[in-house]
C-alpha cells in the first residue's frame, strides 16, 4: 500500500458505497445517545410517581418517593453529556442568557429548568417538608444544617398547613405530568424535526420517545426498588412490585405498538429513502436493532411479563424475574436511543452508501466517559437516600 494514501485507505475502509466526505466520521457519538436515555429515565420515573399521586394507584405508594428522587438524581446529570460533548463547559450557560427562539436546543434549556426547578424540586419539597421540620429538630451536625435551611426556617406543621402542602403538591404533580411529557416529547422533537434525515424525521418521534421514556423510567424504578429493599434487608412489598410490573407491561405494549406503527408506515410509504433504510436495518443495525432493541429489550420482557399476568410463580422467583426483565428493558431502551442517534448518521444523505461506527474505549466521546455519566446519578441517588431516607418519613395519606 502506498503510504501516502494510508489515511485515505483507513477512512475508506469504514465506508460502503457512495458517501459525502463529511459523513465519514460521526459527529454525534455515545454521549448524545446518553442524553435522550437519561432524560427518558427522568420523565419515566416521574410519571410512575404521578400514577400514585394523581391517578391514585395506592399500591404504588412505596415507590413514590424513590421514583421522585430517582428522577431528580438523573435530572441533575441530564445535560452533562451534552455539555461534555460540546466541550465548552464555561460557555454552556450562555445559551440561557441569550436564548434564541428558533434554536431547539435553547428552548430545551428552559423546558429543562422549568421541569427541574418548578416541578421536581417543588414536588419533592412539599412531600418532605414535614419531615424536614421534624428532622431538623432531631438530627445533628451537617444534616441538621441542611434540614434547617431546606425547611426555610419555618416549623409550621399544623394539620392545616400540612393539608395545604398536600394540596399544593398535588397541583404541582398535575402540572408535572404535562411537563414530563413536554420534556421528553421535546427531546424526541429535536430529532424528529430534522427533516433532512429520513430515519429521524417523523412526527411519531416525540410520541415514541415519550413512551419508551416511560418504559425505561418504570423499569429503572422497579429495579431500584428491588435493589434498595435487598440492601436494606427488608421484605419487599410484592403487591407493589406486581403493580409496577403490570404498568410496565401495559406501557411496553403501547410503546411496541407505536414503534411498529412508525415502521409499518415507513414500509408502506416506501419513499425514496426506503431502500437505504431497509439496508440499514438489515445491515449495520442488525444487532443493535433487531436483536438488542426488539428481541432482548422488547419481545423477551413483553413475553415474560405477559405470562406473569396469568401465571404467578412464588414471590422470590417473581422478584428475580422482575429484576432481570427490568435490566433487559433498560438495555433495550438504551439501544433504542443508540439506533436512533447512531443509526441516523450511518447512511449517506445521498442514500447511496454507509459509513460505520466503532465506539472507542477512552477519549472524550468514549465508553468510559459515557459510563461515568451513567454511574454518577446512582451516587447522587445514594446520597439523597442517605440524606432524606424515605423509610424514615412520617407516613402521610395523600
Amino acid at each position: 500500500m502506498n503510504p501516502e494514501f494510508e489515511h485515505l485507505y483507513q477512512a475508506l475502509s469504514k465506508v460502503d458505497g457512495f458517501i459525502y466526505p463529511n459523513e465519514i466520521e460521526l459527529s454525534w457519538s455515545v454521549l448524545i445517545v446518553l442524553y435522550p436515555f437519561i432524560t427518558g429515565l427522568v420523565a419515566g420515573a416521574f410519571i410512575l410517581a404521578s400514577l400514585e399521586r394523581v391517578f391514585n394507584v395506592k399500591s404504588l405508594k412505596p415507590t413514590y418517593v424513590i421514583a421522585l428522587l430517582t428522577a431528580f438524581s438523573f435530572m441533575l446529570v441530564a445535560t452533562m453529556p451534552l455539555v461534555f460533548h460540546l466541550g465548552q463547559p464555561f460557555r454552556a450557560w450562555e445559551i440561557m442568557i441569550t436564548p434564541h427562539l428558533t434554536s431547539a436546543m435553547a428552548i430545551f434549556g428552559f423546558v429543562y429548568l422549568w421541569y427541574l426547578m418548578v416541578v421536581l424540586l417543588l414536588e419533592i419539597w412539599f412531600d418532605y417538608r414535614v419531615d424536614l421540620v421534624i428532622w431538623s429538630k432531631t438530627a445533628t451536625g451537617f444534616k441538621r444544617i441542611v434540614y434547617k435551611a431546606l425547611s426555610l426556617g419555618s416549623d409550621d406543621i399544623s394539620p392545616k398547613s400540612v393539608k395545604l402542602d398536600d394540596k399544593l403538591g398535588y397541583i404541582v404533580t398535575v402540572i408535572g405530568i404535562p411537563s414530563a411529557f413536554l420534556l421528553h416529547g421535546y427531546v424526541g422533537f429535536i430529532f424528529g424535526s430534522i427533516k433532512a434525515n429520513p430515519w429521524w424525521s417523523t412526527v411519531m418521534m416525540p410520541i415514541i420517545f415519550l413512551f419508551s421514556a416511560m418504559v425505561s423510567g418504570i423499569a429503572l424504578v422497579m429495579v431500584l426498588f428491588i435493589v434498595i429493599n435487598y440492601l436494606r434487608k427488608q421484605k419487599i412489598d410484592m403487591l407493589c412490585l406486581d403493580t409496577i410490573a403490570k404498568y410496565l407491561f401495559y406501557i411496553i405494549i403501547i410503546d411496541f405498538t407505536m414503534e411498529s406503527l412508525d415502521q409499518i408506515h415507513r414500509f408502506y410509504e416506501a419513499e425514496e429513502s426506503f431502500e437505504i433504510i431497509s439496508l440499514l436495518i438489515s445491515g449495520h443495525l442488525n444487532f443493535t436493532l433487531l436483536i438488542m432493541q426488539i428481541g432482548v429489550g422488547m419481545m423477551l420482557p413483553l413475553g415474560t411479563l405477559g405470562v406473569l399476568q396469568f401465571y404467578k410463580p412464588a414471590a422470590h422467583i417473581r422478584k428475580a424475574i422482575y429484576f432481570v426483565v427490568g435490566i433487559l428493558v433498560l438495555i433495550g431502551i438504551f439501544f433504542m436511543r443508540w439506533n436512533v442517534v447512531i443509526g441516523g448518521q450511518l447512511f449517506s444523505k445521498s442514500f447511496l452508501g454507509f459509513t460505520s461506527f466503532k465506539l472507542s474505549l477512552i477519549g472524550s466521546e468514549g465508553f468510559l466517559m459515557a459510563s461515568i455519566w451513567l454511574v454518577v446519578p446512582f451516587f447522587i441517588l445514594t446520597f439523597l437516600l442517605w440524606l432524606f431516607p424515605p423509610w424514615k418519613k412520617t407516613p402521610v395519606d395523600h
Partner: protein, 145 residues
C-alpha cells in the same frame, strides 16, 4: 398564608430576579446590535494582527531571493507558504528566525504523486525513486528549482 409558603414565594421571586440580574450583567453589551450575536465580535476579529505579511514585505531585505524566485518555476508560490507566517520576523529578523523546510517530505507535499492533483498544475515526481540518497535542495535550489 403559612410562613413557609411565604418564604418559598420569596425564594422563587428571588431566583427569578437573580436570573434577570445575571442575564442583564452577563449579556455582552454589544449583543444584538446587528443580529443574534455580539456586534463587537466583528471589530474584535478585524483587530486581530495579520500574521501573513506577503511577499512584498521581504523585498527590502531579501531582494536577491525574491528576484530569483520570481524568475523561476516557484514564482507563483508565496514565501510564507514555505517559511511560515513572518509577522514577527519582519520586525525582529535576528530574534525571530523563520522555519527552513529542507526535508524531502516537505517538497513531497506538493510534488509527490497524487492522482487527485492535476499534473499540469504541479509537476509530480515519485519521491521514493527520484534520487533518494540526498535532500531535494542539494540539487534544486528551493527558490529557483
Amino acid at each position: 398564608m403559612p410562613l413557609h409558603l411565604k418564604r418559598l414565594l420569596m425564594l422563587g421571586v428571588l431566583i427569578v430576579l437573580l436570573f434577570l440580574l445575571l442575564k442583564h450583567l452577563l449579556t455582552p453589551v454589544s449583543f444584538g446590535q446587528f443580529g443574534h450575536y455580539r456586534g463587537k465580535a466583528i471589530d474584535e476579529i478585524a483587530a486581530h494582527q495579520v500574521k501573513f505579511v506577503g511577499n512584498k514585505a521581504c523585498v527590502s531585505c531579501h531582494d536577491t531571493i525574491v528576484t530569483m524566485k520570481n524568475e523561476g518555476y516557484h514564482s507563483d508560490l508565496s514565501c510564507e507558504g514555505c517559511h511560515g507566517a513572518a509577522y514577527l520576523h519582519v520586525d525582529h529578523p535576528k530574534l525571530e528566525k523563520l522555519f527552513k523546510p529542507d526535508s524531502r517530505e516537505f517538497c513531497g507535499k506538493c510534488h509527490s504523486i497524487n492522482k487527485a492533483r492535476p499534473e499540469k498544475a504541479v509537476t509530480q515526481q515519485n519521491i521514493k525513486d527520484h534520487h533518494p540518497e540526498d535532500k531535494c535542495i542539494k540539487c534544486h535550489n528551493p527558490h529557483q528549482p
